[in-house]
Amino acid sequence: MPESHSREAPDSFTVSSSNKSQVDSFPTAASSPQQPGRSPSLAAIIKKGLPTVRVSPSEVDPFATKIYSVQADANTMTASVDSAYIHRDLLASELDHPWSVSGSEGSSPGVESQPPSMTTGSTSASIESLESLQDLHNKNVQLRNEKLYAQLSSLAGKGGAPSATAQPPTSHGSSADGAVLLHSEFGYCPNQAFRYTSEHRQGASLPHPIEEEPSYFTVLTTYISYIFLIVIGHMRDYTGKRLFPKSYRHLVERDGYAALNSDFDSFYTRRLKARMDDCFSRPVTGVCGRTVVTLDRVSDDYYQSFRLTGEKTRALNISAYNYLGFAQSHGGCADAVEECLKRYGVSSYGSRLGVGSLDLHAQAEKLVARFVGKEDACIISMGFATNSTTIPAIASPGTLIISDEYNHSSIRFGARLSGAHIRQYKHNDMEKLEALLRECISQGMPRTHRPWKKILLIVEGLYSMEGTLVNLPEVMRLKEKYKFHLYIDEAHSIGAIGPNGRGVCDYFGIDPKRVEILMGTFTKSFGAAGGYIAGDKALIDRIRLTNHANVYAETLAPPVLTQIIASMASIMGAGNVQEEKSLLPSWVQLPAPLMDGSEGRERLRRLAFNARYLSSGLRKLGFIVYGHRDSPIVPLLIFHPAKMPLFSRMMLDRQQSLPPSERIVAEESDLTSEQLKAINDPASVANMDRPARPPIVVVVVAYPATPLISSRVRFCVSAAHTKKDIDDVLRACDEVGSLLKMKYGSGGPGGRWNVEQVIERCLDLVAWNGEDPI
């Protein structure tokens, strides 16, 4: 690893988090002062209890303070350093301090003396890839130095060296053994106070989440907005067809061919969605982790087409289904995947029943079955197909499928293919469900009144648009009484819900054996792809023979399987039980924190905290938020169609929501746009403690995914987010939401709070039961 490379990856820093490992991994630091002409390394500085103090925040980052003078909280930056002295030191220390990914191997003088444990987490960090991950910052050496400053000051600011070094062993993922993690992918959040356990009181029915209704004014103006949009759309179509027939050619029949998509069918797409097309399908690059790099694009023709500008923006990613933060390019899981690629190659070249069945599939299936608590499991190579090909394999004409009205499209697809009779009930309404069951059982099949052969109730564990959890205790009670078979789609809840991350059964303390079929996907919490079906052995064997995807579709690629095995093993703590450990392939060598489950637990607790914090915080700020507070999906209601694109754009380009006076400051500074971006870069260590204004990518969803009026923005929190990231999101929402007048709610029991109050009292909010005034 050449030196020049190592110098160019400043933000990909590792944090050694246990006291012990600090000591272990710092022989470099200890020895470096003895080398003539070398200044003490960063670690040594910290160890000595560094920083003696004098600098104002403006010296740390002059531009940032100018812009954020309002938010910049002085007490987060109490640390200060002798600028000239430290500056020189940092440049030197950067070369060999153990915080840098690149410092871990290569030509820097201290490397030989580093213990091997320093890098076992990721022995193979590809320099090229790191470089491109961080290339935004590489271009700006000057600014980087300032960031290193800030890194130093912020660390020192936590009350000196001991706090920085005496972090609990699990504070930063698998870093205890020196594994390299990127702050840009998985945030550094050592404070153990910011943890929570996702759990429901055993046996009790799940209360309905409090969902505030918007005022009549809001509803009315929303409808009027849509009427306007529709009328204008039709007017444009009417005049356009006559004035510019060329651009409508594909919508009308020509040469005896009917239009591929009629203008009526595509009206919504062309006239409503097209107005905000810049908010969808934004191209990205790199890992979709805590942050994501979007490729900037502009449109010259009102979003008919886009042109990439070539610039990139690193934004805080609060929209990926990366619940446990396993979307990582480095760390124990990624290393196992690399090993797998070397051993197995990329594909298996066949279907499960068509000579594409690897030993790895069998191992992964056993592990999945063990994880969810069923006898056996079957893995399908696509989450969507898991539902759409399994339901036809178990249901047939004569079966009644009862389905929640908000069930995912794949469930509807599968149910339609099965030929079974389908009935829907109102979302999560257990009374309606019971009434429907009574009606269906007593009436039997339509016309003949024969009893149904079997009844299959399909529910989702966590609804992806609503953020609501299924009322499983109540469903189980009904199941006892009405003897239906239960199919739970845990696409979003597996890994994300429950004290052990094992889905809704875990959350409610219900024995998974009582549920016939547990389905889930690996796309979300496990950072992989594909899905599984788990159940009794006889059932799964039947599904293996009759599931369309198992017979015909390609199997899940071996590297993806390895990601599943590694991430799942680390959530389970597979190393603790010999029986579970034996399920892992012998070549999968995971670092200790992954193996013993300490990191998995940490991730679950971080996720649970973040979810409750964001959900409660937004409620307290006065937004209407749907769903249960333990859900990592937090839908914030927007209502008015025009606010959707505005919200999305303002969150991405935070300049837009600044008051004009402050915007001028940024515009008139000599900084290039890249420098301006670097100041608020969410991956920068300089922004670890200071209130920053990072660009945030959000997902706005509207009709047809939601009812017409309740368009919303959907946040998906992750264990990779730090508490401070959630602070930033809350600040951004507060700012943009106030500007757009989106605070339709009352703030729940106890009334609204302002954003500083929310951030200050985050622990109270997370502990809050949601009912008593606070």
Partner: protein, 561 residues
């Protein structure tokens, strides 16, 4: 409106007006009520029938509005009203079937006959099978995996995948519509479109789900699909979910296609409805029997009858044509003239996922209407990178396709002369399907008198029982003298025997089609063994493997002709 005052002098009326007055007072406080009142009054004076009609209409509209749309059975005339007690009894009496029946011994055997590959797919993998040597791994010659161009052995693709891992991680964690469109996806779409020669392309995250999502994205209820009887299962599911009107034509029979198109034309004319979308759906190389479609003829018919063509190139893409560009290259037809080409990145490219190539309009439409595209997470970046790398390899080494054809020829030169077999595949297809020849079909090599003698003998192998010609046994289906189970049993014994001699084959596993009466009648639906030829082997090795298959066949089927 009911509250409109009626001038009358009877005491009943005065009592009524006493009751109505406060209501009227409240009514008058509603803004605009005066206008309604005036309107009702004047209309009643002019035309009492009209206001009665209007009242009736109003009540009807109110009733329609309030009536739940999802009441389903309850509103039907077939609804039986039951008391709560009766319902409780019915509920307690309800005894549902178990979710599924346990496997029969035959089904368990079927499941147990699936080999497990130990440690990665290659041309000579180690496999383990519980029925062979108690699961001890054995090394075999792999003629079963879709590893046509031997990309499974490519180290450069592995390296690129590792680089992708270190840059992108594994999962995409988002659907493409949100933040799951990674630059490598865009790159792969461009690569495929350029490779095939279309304007645009869209990638799905599973090949199987691609076509069953493409078809319903375009063909809706009321549209017309004309499809081959032999299309694969995924297409059948796509047709089923689209709820379009389907016409089937005989497998790979262009005359039948023309006849069906003519029928459609006639029906359309008679119906005189609005113009609907019309599609021909067929495959390049058929997954079920390896036949190759006569694309120029289909193109000609499609233009003549104004149909669009959806062509599934899952097998043919990356295997045939001088440089592997598929059927369009084989026949020298510009790919742009085929409306939608659907293919797989899992079979030949060794990545994962599927694609649909076509015009900009076709691709764009699916970005919002392709169910499996919109509602699924994007393909893992690493698989997209591997597919892009595979296309790069194909472009730089086009000679691999000549080798592949030579290997196919070498295999066919041996197997074509086994008289007890019927090879349904096209001579160019790298996927060679072996069926058991029916007694009623003569192999070109079989002398006529032997064929006549064989036709009237019952049984397999050495057992040959002469029967009179008029009692010709036709116990089987699909025009075969053997039943499906019997054919499967014999084919499986050939597969097992080949495995004993170190050659891995696959007896194709099938699920019931969507319309067995129509689709499982032709010879294309017969059970078969699938041989996937690969460039990983030399001509000698292929010939050796072919001879093993031949020997096994003769051992198992005997002198059957």
């Amino acid at each position: 409106m009911e509250a409109s005052p009626n001038p009358s002098s009877s005491p009943l009326a005065s009592a009524l007006s006493h009751l109505v007055d406060p209501l009227l007072h409240h009514f008058q406080r509603i803004p605009g009520s005066a206008i309604i009142l005036r309107y009702v009054r004047s209309s009643y004076q002019d035309d009492p029938i009209r206001s009665l009609l209007e009242l009736f209409l109003f009540v009807f509209a109110l009733r329609t509005l309030l009536q739940s749309r999802t009441r389903g059975n309850q509103s039907g005339s077939n609804f039986v009203k039951l008391s709560e007690k009766e319902i409780d009894e019915l509920v307690s009496e309800f005894t549902p079937d178990p979710l599924c029946a346990p496997l029969t011994p035959a089904e368990s055997r079927e499941l147990a006959s699936v080999p497990t590959i130990i440690g990665g797919v290659s041309s000579r993998p180690k496999i383990s099978l519980p029925t062979h040597h108690a699961g001890k791994p054995i090394q075999v010659t792999n003629l079963a995996s879709y590893n046509f161009t031997n990309l499974a052995g490519s180290d450069s693709i592995k390296e690129k995948a590792i680089l992708a891992l270190r840059k992108y991680g594994v999962g995409s964690c988002s659907p493409p519509g949100f933040y799951g469109t990674i630059d490598v996806h865009v790159q792969l779409e461009e690569d495929i479109a350029r490779f095939i020669g279309t304007d645009s392309c869209i990638i799905y995250s599973q090949a199987f789900s691609t076509i069953s999502s493409v078809i319903p994205a375009f063909s809706k209820r009321g549209d017309i699909i004309v499809a081959d009887r032999g299309v694969n299962f995924a297409i059948q599911k796509g047709i089923q979910i689209s709820r379009s009107t389907v016409y089937w034509y005989d497998h790979n029979d262009m005359d039948s296609l023309e006849a069906v198109l003519e029928t459609v034309k006639r029906d359309e004319k008679r119906r005189r409805g609005p113009l609907t979308r019309r599609f021909i759906v067929t495959e390049g190389i058929f997954e079920s029997d390896g036949a190759i479609v006569d694309l120029p003829k289909v193109q000609e018919l499609k233009r003549k009858y104004k149909f669009r063509l959806i062509l599934d190139e899952s097998i043919s893409f990356g295997t045939i044509g001088a440089t592997g560009r598929g059927l369009t290259e084989l026949y020298g037809i510009p790919a742009k003239e085929v409306d939608m080409i659907v293919g797989s990145m899992a079979n030949t490219l060794g990545g994962g996922g599927g694609f649909c190539a076509g015009s900009e309009e076709v691709a764009f439409h699916q970005r919002i209407n392709g169910t499996a595209f919109v509602f699924s997470a994007a393909l893992p970046a690493m698989l997209a990178v591997a597919s892009s790398a595979a296309i790069g390899t194909m472009i730089s080494e086009p000679s691999m396709f000549t080798t592949l054809q030579e290997n196919v020829k070498a295999l066919r030169s041996v197997l074509d002369h086994v008289e007890s077999l019927r090879i349904s595949s096209d001579p160019r297809s790298p996927l060679v399907h072996i069926q058991i020849r029916s007694k009623s079909e003569r192999h070109p090599d079989t002398p006529l008198e032997k064929f006549e003698r064989g036709k009237s003998s019952l049984g397999v192998g050495d057992v040959s029982l002469a029967v009179r010609p008029q009692q010709r046994p036709m116990v089987g289906s699909m025009g075969h003298d053997l039943g499906v189970d019997e054919q499967n049993r014999l084919l499986q014994s050939i597969v097992d025997d080949c495995l004993e001699h170190g050659v891995l084959l696959l007896r194709t596993k099938r699920l019931g089609s969507i319309n067995p009466k129509l689709l499982e009648t032709g010879p294309e639906a017969r059970p078969n063994i699938r041989v996937a030829v690969s460039t990983a082997f030399t001509k000698k090795e292929i010939e050796k493997a072919a001879n093993i298959i031949k020997a096994s066949t003769i051992r198992m089927l005997g002198k059957r002709r």
